[in-house]
Structures are given as C-alpha cells and as structure tokens.
Amino acid sequence: MSILEFSRGPMLHFALIVFVFGVLWRLTATFLLGFRQHRSEPRASKGQAAAGGFSVLGMRSWPHKEFIGRTAFGEAVGYGYHIGLFTIVLLGAPHVLFWQNLFGFSAPWWPTLPGGLITFISILTVMLMLIATIRRVGHPVLRRISNFDDYFTLVILYALMLTGLMAVLGLGGRYEYILAAHIISFNALLIWFPFSKLMHAFYIFPSRFFNGYMHAKKGAAK
C-alpha cells in the first residue's frame, strides 16, 4: 500500500470515525449538563426569545457600530480567512470531486470555481492566516490568552494549505507524495478537531442562539 493509498484509505476512515464520534460526544457531553429552569417572570414570550436567539445567531457576525472601530481589523482578517477556507473546500473542483467520492454520490449541479481563482483565493487565505498568526503572537491580549490549542491548530491549517498549494503549483517533489501530505494534513485536522477549538464550528450555533434567547427573554441588549 502506497502512502497515498494509506492516506486516503485506512487513515482517512480512521480520521473520519474520530471526527464524527468525537464531535458528537463533545456536543452531547455539553448538552447532558442540562438546562437550568429560570423562574423569574420573563419580559418576552418563548417565541420572542427564540426570535432574539435567531437574530443573534445571524447578526453577531457583524459587530455593533459601538465596537467596530476597535474590532474591525481583527474581524476582517478572521472572517476573511474563514470565507477563503470555505470557498476552497466547497467550490474547488478537486475538493468537490473528493466529497462526491467520499460520500458516494454524483452532483453535477455542484458549482465549482476555476482552478486559477481557487489558487488565488488560497494564496490570499494563507496571507490572511499569516496576519492572524502575527496578531496572535504580537498583540498583547491575543498572546496572553493563546495556548497550545491555538498554535497547534494553526500548524495543521498551514500544513493543509501549503501542501494543497504545492500540489496545485507542482512544487516540492513528486505529486503523489505532496498530495499524500495534503490528505494526511486533512486527516490530522479531522482527528484534532473534536479535541480542539475547531469545535467552535459547531458550538457557534447553540452558543449564539442561547445568548440571544436569554437576553431577549429579559429584554436585555443583544
């Protein structure tokens, strides 16, 4: 079995199992802690509170005008490379093919972007990640609150992005080794995911919703 076969065969399957069960367990364990009953007279009905929850879920990505002056740069960089990552993963032709093969379905309607554009977006994304990394190391607040989780996650993301770019641009040696390195990086990301801050990809939905729900219930600012 070649390294490429290993990376997209048994290793990928193992990584997917860790990812799926790990994510499910982490979310379940959080919800199993249970929700407390709140006995104070609410200011809003459950429906109004739920509307508040959905409002924060959707709107919190855009900062309130009171904060934007101080947070705009950090948010632009952060959201920027997230948008880049999603675009590459969901609209890059090799990735679309990968998802279809992995899940065993054909989706000719799934749109893809031209390879050159994806490469450009990838370079831009890596640059934004670099700015985010420099901020994390250089900004006193970010440096103080960062831990192993933050840096190791970045290492895996860089490995994933750089091996992907090398594979596309034909850099760094034999294509199948570079591709294997790319897939191994992806597998590492899947394995690391449930144990790390990457879980924010799932937690963001209930966390924002319940923040908005609880605030709306009290009539408080959202």
Binding site: T30, D150, K218
Partner: protein, 434 residues
C-alpha cells in the same frame, strides 16, 4: 497614576487551608455547570474581542484585564473535571489542577477589575456570556474563602442584620427622619399594601432627597405602598461577594416582607444590583417563582405614565446627559423607561457615543465601589466615561442608579469634575403636574 491594586485579601470565614480553598472553588463551580456554562466555556476561540469592549482594558491596555482571561482558572476546572474529555485530560495531566496561588492572583481580576457590566457579552462573536462566567467565578472564589474581605464581611453582616454594617441609628428611624426633613409621608410597616418598596442604603446616608423623591412620587400617584423596618436596604452584598447562601438570605428578607403585606409589586429603587438580584436571580435562588412583580422604579413610573396616571411638567432646556446603569438597562432590560420619562418632561437629552445597551459602566458596579484598593484602577476606567459625558456638551447629568451616583460622585471629587450626578427620579418628583 498607578493602577496596581494590593494583593488579595482573605475573608475571615470559610475554608482556610490551601487544599480546602481549592476544593471549595471546585465544588462551587461544579454546582453551576450546566449546558449554557459548558457552551460558554467550550466556545471560546481566543479572539480577544472581549477586551475591546471592556473599560478596564481600554483604559489601561493591560492584557490581564481581558474579560475571558478573568475566568481562566474556572475554564481549567471545567475542562479537567466536567468537560467531554475530562478523563483523558486527567489521565495525561493535560490540564493541571488549579492552585490556591492562582486563585489568589485572580481575586483582583474577578472583583476589582470587573463590574459584571456585560458589555463584553455583546461583542463576543461566539455569543459567550462572559459576565455570567465571572459571576460563577465569584461564587467559586467566595466558597474558596477568597472573596475580598470588605464584601464578604458586609454580606454576612447584612444577612444577619438586614444592613451591611453597623449604624448609628436604625434605618427605620433614618427613614422617618428623611420623611420629616423633606416633608414627605413615608409609610412604614403597614399591615397590608399593594406595593412594597425598599431604598438604597447609599441614598439613605448620602442622598436622602432621592429616597424622599421616590416616596413623594408614590404618594402623588396614591399608591398603597409601604416600607418594612426589617427590610429597608435594597442592596444585596451577597450578590457582590459571590455567596449564593447570603444572597438568598438577603433576598428572602425582602421577599418575606413583601409577601407578609400581600404586595402585588415590589418597586426596586434606583439601584442596579438590587434590581438584578431581585428581578432576575432571586426566584432561582429560592427555588420558586416570586408571588409578585418586580419593577425598577423608572419602569414603574413609565408604566404609570403610559396609563395616564402620571403627568409631568416640562423642564428647562438645559442640555442633559443620561448614564444607563448596566444592571438596569443593558442586562436588566429596562431599555426605554428612563427615556420615556425624560421625553415626557421634555428633557433636552444629549446622548453619549455609547448609550443605552452599549453604554460604558460607571466603574463602580459589582461591588467595586466598596473596594478601597481598587480605586486607582477604577478612576482610570472612569476617565473614559467622564470624557464621553463631557463630549455631549451637557451641563445636567442624570442617572437612575444610586451605586452609579456614588461612583460618579467619587470621581467628581477625585478629578475635580464639573458635573453633579443627579437622580432621574428626583427630577420626576420635582416635575409632577399638580
């Protein structure tokens, strides 16, 4: 001006050995672990945005005042003891146990440099309720015997005596004197009343005209109300100190007195933390819904205004700034009532850049007013607010919280600031249409 605060103080009661203190904090925090707390802890992406909303960080640019960092020991406890992979973390010792030294170091961060104002909860892209985590952290600190002595002592005294420190004369007598001095009848210990009322201790001592104003308005509205001599003080030092039990005992004093007179409504005076403690936390602490409504006095008056029962004169054209108390407005949900009252009086309101839900805290809330050692840091944070108020060009300065007024009054003396914080309810009382 140095903003450094002195090292931690230990409360007298509670656990004393290092191990007992750590165990106390861990047991206390574990009591609070629910799905919402879990989500709040698990969601953090370490983006640091919360610092950009916090007046303590903005004023000092010291990274240690980053709100989410203030609960770091408790995040660690959660991951080690209750998180999804706690056995794994424990087995490989990936999350070390917290130490009493860490908790002692964090006392300043949880008590001196946080007003629990909740502004950081509005900026967090993940929707983390940082202020709630701080509150849970404070409870852990209390159970570890590490709440600041000033707050813990006052909480215990208030739970036992109904007021937080020794007084020269009983508060009932003081209340009567206030009534006499301002020529206002203040009903005390009536057997039955529709509305139960209490008063901020700080107003009774330093600003009695605000207490008289509330009574004057209620009298004009012909409200059937009463104070009770065993439950006059509105503040809840148990809430400040982080003690569930003392907070509950102090709340029960008001709850029982209100129940005894058959009150349908409890009107909380101009005091932010008293409002939070009674309006949003008391029912959960006592384990049952309260048999009466809880209304902040501005909310109560705005309801009377809407019902046509309260009619107000127009005030002068003086440019006026209004400070939104965090616990009443941003976190308490009394968003519009103060402005409805001001509008009815034709107040020439000049809004600050950050107002209503996004207002900066006065700097004194959350018990910070009571911490002598926190003064240098508080003044630094307050400068931000004073500049915002000055930038409105207003000459009159109103607010609806006695604790905020204490903080502004103190800052006024310290900075030789040219504005006098005034009570919104006093302005209402002075402008009731006969």
């Amino acid at each position: 001006m140095s903003t450094a605060t002195q090292s931690f103080t230990r409360q007298d009661a509670g656990p004393q050995s290092a191990d007992e203190r750590v165990e106390g904090a861990m047991r206390s925090f574990a009591k609070e672990f629910g799905a919402l707390v879990g989500m709040n802890i698990e969601s953090c992406i370490h983006c640091g945005m919360c610092a950009e909303a916090c007046h303590f960080y903005i004023a000092t640019e010291d990274a240690k005042y980053t709100p989410i960092l203030k609960v770091e020991p408790f995040k660690k406890i959660f991951r080690r003891e209750s998180g999804a992979f706690a056995p794994f973390f424990k087995l490989f010792n990936l999350k070390s146990k917290i130490t009493v030294e860490e908790l002692e170091e964090w006392q300043e961060l949880m008590f001196d440099s946080c007003n629990q104002c909740g502004r950081c909860s509005l900026v967090c892209p993940m929707g983390i309720e940082v202020a709630d985590l701080i509150e849970i952290g404070r409870r852990g600190m209390y159970d570890a015997g590490l709440a600041p002595k000033e707050l813990a002592d006052r909480a215990r005294y208030q739970a036992e005596h109904g007021h937080p420190e020794e007084v020269d004369k009983p508060y009932a007598e003081l209340l009567s004197e206030i009534g006499n001095a301002h020529d206002v009848e203040i009903p005390l210990d009536k057997a039955k009343a529709d509305v139960f009322v209490c008063a901020p201790r700080s107003d009774m001592i330093s600003n009695p005209s605000a207490v008289a104003a509330m009574a004057k308005v209620l009298n004009k509205l012909k409200v059937n109300y009463t104070f009770a001599s065993n439950a006059i003080v509105a503040e809840n030092y148990g809430h400040y100190a982080g003690s569930r039990e003392l907070q509950k005992t102090i709340s029960l004093r008001i709850i029982d007195a209100a129940k005894k007179v058959g009150a349908k409504t409890v009107v909380v005076p101009e005091c932010g933390h008293a409002y939070t403690a009674l309006r949003w936390q008391a029912a959960d602490l006592v384990g049952e819904a309260l048999p009466f409504k809880v209304r902040h006095v501005t909310e109560f008056l705005a309801e009377q205004l809407a019902d046509g029962k309260l009619k107000l004169n127009q005030v002068d054209d003086e440019a006026t700034a209004f400070h939104d108390p965090c616990k009443i407005v941003r976190k308490g949900g009394v968003m519009d009532a103060p402005r409805e009252l001001m509008k009815a009086m034709g107040v020439n309101l000049k809004e600050m850049a950050n107002h209503q839900g996004y207002s900066f805290c006065c700097g004194g809330g959350g018990g910070v007013n009571d911490l002598e050692r926190a003064k240098p840091l508080r003044y630094k944070a307050q400068e931000l607010k004073l500049h915002e108020i000055d930038a409105t060009g207003a000459r009159r300065f109103l607010t609806s919280c006695s604790d905020c007024r204490v903080a502004f009054e103190d800052a006024r003396e310290f900075f030789n600031w040219d504005k006098q914080p005034e009570s919104l309810v006093e302005l209402v009382a002075a402008n009731i249409k006969e």
